[in-house]
């Protein structure tokens, strides 16, 4: 009996009128936990009752404490008939179970009814007294902290990253039980809400147990999802990354990592003069050989029912034109470390043993501490089509487990094929239509720094420093991890444009956030590929096979679109890539979103070359010329828009450091026959090979048109789907999180794939346009973490749900930057040639030496503060200004706490001082008076506003003032306008935090932004 839960009902306000005669309400409250119920007195004839109840005490197991929510029901007392329910509040007491989180829950909660929505508010006080439990066979996992944030939380330090944890629980869906036929919709909704709350509590507890087993104390990047499989049941599953976290004392800077010890001087020397000292060189060399980067994407598809049918139908022929995509089955493991020195082998062994102990070396993190990520290989993804059947025994969810297991194996093998031992930015999702279910998983193959995996290594960081990463962090992660003689897909490798020592691919796709230390040219932008494919209606296995046949083609086309759009924007890397394929009865929808970036380390992208199939046709050629011109114009315009002005490279510079580079690149170039032609026709884009689009049929024409129809973002706006926008560093405190939902009904006129594509594209584009319009008052601003979700809720309906945050930034610094750039561009060629070597040296030295010299007096201090100082040195004015701007804003002093919400892991201009616990809420809302509530739009508008308000209320009750890493995982709407009915399910999650405005002495919370500013500032300085 290790816990005592105490609850007190204080008061209510704004209650609805329950008694028409008196226009008043006789309210009382039932407080229920587990099977125990307490009641307050009836507060007669008041809409603002004061109960001021005694403390209701529940003596319970901590297992129950974790699983069960506290259930507060407000009722209207009726002497003669049954008491009427006004509404309920479910309070998740999990945050109280962790000593570091909240200590008391106290505040006003909206009283929620699944039929009527919010009806007044109730003030509740909840406390928990925990007794120590020394039983090592315990079933509870109290004390394990959960974070939705997919990076190391701001006020913690990662001591150890243990790895992947996953769990899944299944149950029958109450909505489909026989009893549902006789109970009221309200009872049914409440049963469902309660069940899911219980299940997610159980899930969290089980994952907590796994974490404790691994020796960790926290889960970061916790991602929990529901699969409503209808008849066949309800699945709640979660994945996360187990870690051991250390709380940083409030004074020290966040993300201070010992491994960033400033003694990196030798490394920078090595960079400056590689031949100086044999030992240094070897260290350097080894790091570089190890550092890979890859671009590319592998994915597979399993067809239904048996993995035996697992399809490997697509192969190389597709990859010829799109080098980033490969469809293969299990790839052969990348050949590892053939030419690696002894150090490298040693390192690999260590890493591998550390990682191989784990079944799945997966990490749900998308941002990493400096030095964690060594090389990135490319996107790996796997999809599998399954037929659902009834879950017979909820206690043994083996089928579902096996399905996911299969997919994870696939991912693991893909990563191996890319020469990587880990997968980062890993996520899983499903799309269900009737009995068909597509399971998807994707991530980014990567090589990680082993220090985080090994026990105790962090503490001996100094002696261990030969393993440290002295290669410029701004490009290291781009270097390929795989063996260039045994590449998993045809890619054109060149020497890194920053360090010139290691090979980099021409394009890089990843699912993670842009590493803070990466060197970026210009700004990034949101890139989306959208695709619709019609499919015949079918049942069972036939349907599943049809879907799995379509999948590879969709994946291929989405990649082609992404690639084209990337080139059109003159960029060479994608971050935060998320590909969603959603299944409906008669169509499949594919939506790929990512943030395009120009990585300075990667070669400049070639242009897009249009080629016609029929050379003789004059009109066709004319047509092609026009399109070509339009494309070239667009590229030029985009370069200007995104401020992409990479330093021009001459072949000499490129070739000189490693003599055999040309040979090799020629070798690879032979894969694409177009190189000569291209350099002739496409002078404007330099010497790089252009990307050839062939117009051989109307489809291709359509494709090209759709390529060009993406409207540019209006002036003053930027958008991305990653945490922050590459190229914007000076955020101010304006934050507006929003959710938008649109449903489009297709007219049943015989639709073609093209017609559908057009509609779908317009739908997405219009959504973006309306965001820009609505948020125009925030200009200059950037839409971050734009998260699109598509669904086909019914035949002929397409639903798009978007959650994102608009953040303002200081324009001044921006202008300064653009003003600074043109002169550099205007310089003549000789200057540019001179500039380059300079930059080569300056970059690592300014990043590493400056901290070293500055920090000497302050040994404990990270390079963090020194980075700040270097930043301030290079541009002191804007920094000062943005601070003064911030201080003008206040958090307001009204009676209701202002709670900010953001899908990002931080709030600009503030510092998170405490994480109060995870928010994970599930709501159902139903109406039988749809018209009266303003139609579906009115209904959903109210519901989303209600969900926001309940999230805010819970956070405020925990003592918090913000939600970070907020996401809306599910927004499922079912309507029946004829019956005047609608039902909607929403699942949201996030981390409740307390944040304070950053004071002038404190470093900015966003390491990322500072790191980037630093690099770019040095870039400018050269």
């Amino acid at each position: 009996m290790p816990g005592k839960l105490k609850a007190k009902i204080v008061a209510g306000r704004h209650l609805p009128v329950m008694d028409r005669a008196s226009d008043l309400t006789d309210a009382f409250v039932e407080v229920k936990f587990g099977n125990t119920t307490f009641k307050t007195d009836v507060c007669h004839k008041s809409l603002n009752p004061q109960w001021n109840s005694e403390w209701f005490k529940f003596e319970v197991d901590d297992e129950d404490l974790q699983d069960e929510p506290l259930q507060v029901t407000v009722l209207d007392h009726d002497t003669y008939s049954a008491n009427d329910a006004i509404g309920k509040v479910y309070i998740d007491i999990d945050p109280l179970l962790c000593s570091e989180a909240a200590s008391v829950i106290s505040g006003w909660f909206p009283i929620y009814d699944t039929i009527h929505g919010i009806r007044g508010e109730i003030n509740v006080l909840v406390k928990v007294e925990l007794f120590n439990d020394l039983n090592r066979f315990r079933q509870s996992s109290c004390g394990v902290k959960f974070f939705c944030t997919a990076s190391i939380p701001r006020c913690y330090r990662a001591v150890l990253v243990h790895g992947f944890v996953e769990e899944l629980v299944v149950n029958e869906d109450p909505e489909y039980q026989w009893i549902d036929r006789i109970r009221t919709p309200r009872a049914s909704n409440e049963a469902r809400q309660r069940l899911i709350s219980l299940m997610s509590g159980e899930l969290q507890r089980k994952i907590g147990l796994k974490v404790l087993e691994m020796g960790g104390n926290a889960v970061v990047g916790y991602l929990q999802c529901f699969d409503l499989e209808g008849e066949s049941g309800l699945v709640v599953r979660a994945i996360g990354t187990a870690c051991t976290l250390d709380k940083l004392s409030s004074g020290s800077a966040p993300n201070t990592n010992t491994h960033m010890h400033p003694s990196t001087a030798p490394a920078s020397n090595a960079c400056n003069s590689p031949s100086k000292d044999g030992k240094d060189v070897s260290v350097h060399e080894f790091l570089h050989t190890r550092s890979p980067l890859a671009h590319g994407c592998r994915s597979t598809h399993n067809s239904p029912v048996h993995s035996a049918c697992s399809s490997q139908r697509l192969s190389q022929n597709f990859s010829v034109s799109v080098p980033t995509l490969i469809f293969t089955g299990m790839g052969s493991g990348g050949s590892v470390g053939k030419e690696a020195g002894p150090l490298k082998t040693l390192l690999r062994q260590q890493t591998q043993t550390a990682l191989e102990q784990r079944e799945f070396p997966f990490f749900t993190l998308t941002s990493f501490p400096l030095g964690f990520l060594v090389h990135v290989g490319g996107v790996v993804s796997a999809r599998s089509v399954k037929l659902l059947d009834r879950i017979h025994n909820p206690d043994e969810p083996e089928t579902r487990d096996a399905w996911w297991e299969e997919i994870r194996q696939e991912i693991k093998s893909h990563a191996k094929a890319l020469g990587c031992h880990a997968v980062v930015g890993y996520s899983e999702s499903t799309s269900i239509c009737e009995e068909v279910c597509i399971l998807s998983a994707s991530g980014t193959a990567a090589i990680l720094n082993p220090r985080y995996m090994r026990e105790g290594c962090l503490d001996i960081g100094i002696t261990d420093h030969r393993f440290e990463e002295p290669s410029p962090p701004s490009c290291g992660f781009c270097h390929i991890p795989y063996d260039e003689l045994n590449m998993p897909f045809p890619a054109q490798l060149t020497y890194c444009y920053l360090c010139r020592r290691q090979k980099v691919p021409d394009v890089l796709f990843t699912t993670i956030n842009l590493p803070a230390e990466a060197a970026v040219t210009g700004k990034g932008c949101l890139i989306q590929a959208r695709l619709c494919r019609l499919k015949k209606k079918a049942q069972g296995e036939v349907n599943a096979t049809a879907i799995s046949n379509l999948l590879p083609f969709m994946e291929y086309e989405l990649h082609t679109q992404l690639m084209n759009k990337l080139k059109l924007r003159s960029m060479n890397a994608l971050f935060g890539l998320h590909i969603q394929i959603s299944v409906g009865e008669n169509m499949l929808l594919g939506l790929a979103s990512a943030t395009g970036v120009y990585l300075t380390a990667l070669p400049p992208p070639g242009g897009i070359q249009i080629a016609g199939k029929t050379p003789g046709d004059l009109s066709a050629e004319h047509h092609i010329l026009t399109i070509q011109k339009r494309i070239n114009d667009t590229i030029a315009k985009n370069k200007e828009l995104y401020e992409i002005n990479p330093p021009e490279l001459t072949e000499e510079v490129l070739g000189s450091p490693v003599p055999d580079s040309r040979q090799r690149s020629r070798l690879f170039r032979s894969h694409s026959e177009s190189s000569d032609e291209v350099s002739e026709l496409d002078l404007s884009h330099g010497k790089k090979d252009a990307f050839v689009l062939e117009i051989d049929d109307t489809d291709a024409v359509e494709d090209i048109h759709s390529l060009l129809t993406d409207a540019p973002t209006p002036t003053g706006f930027y958008s991305c789907n990653t945490e922050i926008m590459p190229g914007i560093y000076n955020w101010t405190s304006g934050v507006q999180m929003f959710t938008s939902v649109r449903v489009f009904r297709l007219s049943n006129a015989n639709l073609t794939n093209q017609g559908l594509n057009k509609i779908f594209t317009d739908l997405c584009e219009n959504l973006l346009k309306s965001f820009y319009f609505k948020l125009r008052s925030m200009i200059p601003c950037c839409l971050c973490q734009l998260n699109f979700t598509v669904a086909v809720p019914e035949e002929e309906l397409i639903q798009v749900t978007v959650t994102a945050v608009a953040m303002t930034f200081d324009k001044d610094q921006n202008q300064e930057k653009t003003a600074d750039k043109p002169p550099a561009k205007g310089g003549n060629e000789t200057e540019e040639q001179l500039q380059f070597p300079l930059e080569l040296c300056a970059d690592p030295s300014s990043a590493n030496c400056q901290p070293a010299s500055k920090v000497s007096g302050v040994p404990e201090c990270s390079n963090f503060s020194s980075r700040v100082s270097s930043l301030e040195r290079s541009s002191p004015l804007p920094e000062g200004r943005s601070r003064s701007l911030r201080s003008n804003r206040s958090f307001g002093g009204i009676s209701v706490t202002v709670v900010k919400m953001t899908p990002l892991s931080f709030l600009p201009g503030t510092r998170i001082i405490k994480y109060l616990g995870i928010i994970n809420m599930f709501f159902i809302r139903e109406t039988t008076s749809l018209r009266e509530e303003g139609g579906v739009s009115g209904f959903l508008h109210t519901f989303i506003a209600e969900v926001f308000s309940m999230v805010r209320a819970h956070v405020a009750a925990l003592g918090g003032n913000a939600v970070v890493s907020y996401s809306m995982k599910e927004c499922m709407l079912m309507e029946n306008p004829n019956k005047n009915q609608a039902q909607c399910l929403i699942n949201v999650s996030g981390d409740a935090v307390i944040c304070v405005r950053e004071t002038d002495q404190e470093p900015t919370p966003s390491t990322a932004s500072i790191g980037q500013t630093c690099t770019s500032a040095t870039d400018e300085a050269t």
């Binding site: 704004h14 919010i118 959710t739 346009k769 309306s770 319009f773 709670v899 739009s937 209320a953």
Partner: protein, 441 residues
């Protein structure tokens, strides 16, 4: 692209002030979109009609959801459904309770009953305010009236406290409540030239001098009901006209004081008895509810019109009233100085404002005449230059709205007026114009 469903919800509720105004003014979504399009938002932000429609719908929905809260503004501050920054809340409330002067002028002094509500469509048509907006305004009046009716303490403060309105708006509402409660007649043709603000000024005077609250500030309805005792006492003033000696004495005191200060001394002397009788009779009759209602009409008929026919200037009127009032204090036999003061303070300032407005409106009607006369030839009623500013060039929303209802008018005529609210003034204009100018007295 028409959407089956289209919503946008921000954590901080997004509200566009312009759309809010359109909503308050009772525009339908489509009309509002049209107005916004004409306003040029689209070019400004590279938006399309679809985007504008979707945005307008979203905002309208938000406002509808908020409306319930706006009915008791104090709830807006501690509700949890919408996160609205305090200054935005204040804006929402203030605008929601703001009314059209043209509209309020029509219902001022009327009983705020269902009957009046039924006539709203007529009033709407007359004033050019949409029915929806009329209803909102009318319901606001009614709601405020209902709430403050049963409260103790000063009226303005109660309104200010319960509805979180600005001081100015709270005062206006106090005037509306006061007029509605006492049912002052304001709709007669002879009072048409007065604006709501003129009456609001008088109401302020009445509230601070003639109500129960003027002497005792902790009774119910203290600022809403006139002080019965005081009205009873007013009967005593009759001695000023009934006692021949007192009347003559008063007259000679006034005339002496006025000598040399005005050109109209003769007229003042001749009219003295008449005017004095008028004012004192008004006072004496105020115990009668019917006569209370006719207070303003009586002031116009018994005092302003005689002055007018003698061509007194406003300065003359002010001068006359000052000395008329002050001279009473020199009458040793007159014992009711306190009551007299309490009465005259209000009457003096009311008459002043009524007269000044009449002056102005004469000019105004002249101006209207002149506009017409550009077609006919010459201005019939005046030759002198008026103290009128040329029409301000306004390109606002209102113009767009008003233009079609006033096809004859090219340019809305704005006037420099002590009330800074161009909108309401213009509305009054249209009203006047619709009736073919002001009555000439």
């Amino acid at each position: 692209m028409t959407m089956e469903l289209d919503v946008f919800v921000g954590n901080t509720t997004i509200m566009d002030e312009e759309v809010y105004q359109l909503w308050l003014d009772g525009y339908t979504v489509n009309d509002a979109v049209r107005v916004r399009m004409d306003g040029g938002v689209m070019e400004e932000c590279e938006a399309s009609a679809d985007v504008l429609l979707s945005d307008t719908m979203d905002q309208y929905r938000t406002f509808q959801m908020c409306e319930r809260l706006l009915h008791s503004p104090s709830k807006l501050g501690n509700q949890l459904l919408f996160q609205i920054p305090p200054h935005r809340q204040a804006m929402l409330i203030e605008r929601y309770y703001t009314f059209d002067d043209g509209f309020v002028r029509e219902v001022l002094g009327k009983k705020l009953s269902k009957g009046t509500k039924k006539d709203l469509d007529d009033i709407g048509a007359k004033t050019g305010v949409t029915l929806k907006s009329c209803r909102r305004q009318f319901d606001n009046f009614k709601r405020v009236f209902k709430v403050v009716e049963e409260l103790k303490g000063p009226l303005v403060e109660n309104i200010h406290h319960h509805f979180l309105l600005s001081d100015k708006l709270a005062r206006d509402y106090a005037a509306i409540v006061f007029f509605a409660n006492n049912r002052f007649e304001t709709g007669k043709r002879k009072l048409q030239y007065l604006t709501f603000q003129d009456f609001a000024f008088c109401a302020g005077q009445l509230i601070s001098n003639w109500t129960v609250g003027a002497v005792d500030n902790m009774v119910e309805d203290m600022d809403v009901d006139l002080d019965k005792e005081f009205l009873q006492d007013l009967k005593e003033l009759k001695v000023l006209i009934n006692d021949k000696d007192l009347l003559d004495q008063h007259k000679s005191l006034v005339c002496t004081a006025l000598r040399g200060k005005t050109n109209n001394l003769n007229e003042m002397e001749t009219n003295f008895k008449n005017l004095s009788r008028g004012l004192v009779n008004i006072a004496a009759k105020l115990t009668n509810a019917k006569d209370v209602r006719d207070l303003f009409i009586d002031l116009v008929e018994k005092f302003i019109e005689p002055c007018r026919s003698d061509r007194w200037t406003s300065a003359d009127v002010r001068l006359y009233l000052t000395h008329y009032n002050n001279s009473v204090h020199l009458l040793d036999t007159f014992k009711h100085q306190v009551v007299w003061n309490r009465y005259m303070d209000v009457v003096k300032s009311s008459i002043n404002i009524l007269h000044v407005r009449l002056d102005e409106s004469e000019g105004l009607s002249c101006f209207m005449e002149k506009k017409k006369s550009q077609r006919w030839g010459s201005c019939s009623s005046c030759r002198s230059p008026h103290s009128l500013a040329p029409g301000q060039t306004g390109g606002g929303l209102r113009d767009l709205f008003w233009a079609p209802t006033q096809p004859g008018r090219q340019q809305p005529v704005g006037r420099t007026h002590r009330s800074g609210r161009r909108r309401s003034i213009r509305k009054k204009d249209s009203l006047i114009a619709a009736r073919g100018g002001l009555p000439h007295l």
